[in-house]
Each structure stands twice: as structure tokens, then as C-alpha cells.
């Protein structure tokens, strides 16, 4: 398989995630779409790593995964606080910075 196929698959996954991020109103769903976009980028990195015959891309993917885990943990904690304060997970209801 050549690089273009992987890049197109990666872009389709990214666009699906981006569309979901725009459409969805539930905070958790938006987070899932965010993870989808990160994975699409990771796939592009690994495809370039194979194409350029270098290991650097895989290391970047490793670091991206760590950042994704950290981001998920902090984001989910913020969601718990949001739900505790507002009683809902809809982003439309969380439209004031301070209550």
C-alpha cells in the first residue's frame, strides 16, 4: 500500500471526528470525537514514518498518546464538576463562564 491511501483514510477519519465535534451537543460525545481526530493524526504520523523510513514519527505518536491520556483525565474531571454544578452535560446549557 502506498502513502496516499493511508493519508486519505486518515483524513476521512479526521473529517468524521471534526464533523462530530461540530454536530454533537453532549460534552462526552464531543470528547470522543476529539479522540477520533487525534487517532487520525497518529495514523498519518505512522504512515509517514513508514514512508520516510524513520522512527521519529512513531515517537511523536507515543507522545501524542500520553498527551491524549492526560487531556482525557483532566477533561473528564472538568465534566464531573460541570455536571455537579449544572446537572446537565449539554454544552448549550454551559454558556456562562461564572454562575
Amino acid at each position: 500500500m502506498d502513502l496516499t491511501h493511508y493519508l486519505i483514510l486518515s483524513m476521512l477519519l479526521f473529517l468524521t471526528g471534526a464533523a462530530g465535534f461540530i454536530i454533537k451537543k453532549n460534552v462526552i460525545s464531543m470528547f470522543l470525537c476529539l479522540e477520533l481526530m487525534l487517532n487520525a493524526v497518529n495514523l498519518a504520523f505512522v504512515a509517514f514514518s513508514k514512508h520516510l523510513n524513520q522512527v521519529n514519527g512513531q515517537i511523536i505518536v507515543f507522545l501524542v498518546m500520553v498527551v491524549a491520556a492526560v487531556e482525557a483525565a483532566v477533561g473528564l474531571a472538568i465534566m464531573i464538576v460541570l455536571y455537579r454544578n449544572r446537572g446537565t452535560l449539554s454544552v448549550d446549557d454551559a454558556d456562562t463562564m461564572k454562575w
Partner: protein, 167 residues
């Protein structure tokens, strides 16, 4: 054989990704994302990256998604009301814009094919785990250490955020 596997797992990943967006319940979205992550991990195996494939399954499908499912269990049980997605036209607009972006970007994606591959660190078949370790602890030592500090900050931040009592 490789082509068949690429299209098989690529199709599974794409369908699961669409299912993530299309599902009404968050729980089903999360399970679809697990399927998608496993399919992408198979693509990593096709790309000669067994270490990344294993980390993908263990860390992403294992740890991060379990974290998600815990929070869904805590906040959004099956009995809770489904949050309706308003503005239906936005989804059609998103699909249209995505197709437009695909058309615009296709020449860019195609242009890498003709570029010559530089001779750097040679990726040896399945033995690239050692290369990853060597690069991680020599060339990429600083980002690796900064990552550990980042995780520490995240742990402290999560504990502070989630354990705050309502005043």
C-alpha cells in the same frame, strides 16, 4: 493480501467512526470508538509499527476508554434523557465541506508519492522497538521527561478538580 487487509480494517475504522458520530447514546458511541481504535491498531501493524499497535490497544482501548466508560456510568446512565442534537442542517453542511476539503487536498496528498525517501535510521521489519527505545532515551529524552511532569500536573489537577466539595 496487504491491500485486502488495508481496505478491510480501513472500512471497519471508517464505519465505526461514522457510528461514533451517528449514535444517539454516548455509551454506544464509546463502544464504536473502541472498535475504531482496534481497527486503527491493525493498520499500525500493516505499517510495520508493532509497538505503536500494542500501545494503542493497551493505553487507548484499554485505559482511556475505560476512563470514559466510568465517567459515562457516573454521569449519563441509560435512564437519563438523550441530549438532542439541534441544528440538523449543520451535519449536512459538515459533510459537504468535508467532501470539498477532500477534493482540495487530494493533489497535496498525492504529491508525497514522488518524493524520494531519505536514508535515515533504517526501520528493520519488526525489530523497530529497540530503535524506538534508543531514540526515545537519547534524541527525545527531554520531551520524554517533560511528559512525566505533564502527567504529574494532570494527576494533581484531576484530584483537585474532582474532589472539591460544593460550597
Amino acid at each position: 493480501m496487504e491491500t485486502v487487509l488495508f481496505y478491510l480494517f480501513g472500512g471497519i475504522a471508517l464505519l465505526a467512526a461514522i457510528s461514533v458520530v451517528a449514535q444517539k447514546r454516548v455509551f454506544y458511541s464509546a463502544m464504536s470508538l473502541v472498535v475504531c481504535l482496534c481497527a486503527i491498531s491493525a493498520e499500525y501493524l500493516l505499517l510495520n509499527a508493532p509497538f505503536i499497535a500494542a500501545v494503542q490497544v493497551i493505553v487507548y482501548a484499554g485505559a482511556i476508554m475505560v476512563l470514559f466508560l466510568f465517567v459515562i456510568m457516573l454521569l449519563d446512565p441509560f435512564s437519563a434523557a438523550v441530549i438532542r442534537d439541534k441544528k440538523k442542517y449543520l451535519s449536512y453542511l459538515a459533510i459537504l465541506l468535508g467532501a470539498f476539503a477532500l477534493i482540495l487536498l487530494y493533489p497535496v496528498l498525492n504529491s508525497f508519492e514522488s518524493a524520494p525517501t531519505p536514508r535515515g535510521m533504517e526501520l528493520a521489519g519488526s525489530g523497530s522497538i529497540g530503535q524506538i527505545g534508543q531514540a526515545l532515551f537519547s534524541e527525545y529524552l527531554l520531551p520524554f521527561e517533560v511528559t512525566s511532569v505533564l502527567i504529574l500536573i494532570a494527576i494533581i489537577g484531576v484530584v483537585v478538580l474532582a474532589s472539591r466539595r460544593q460550597s
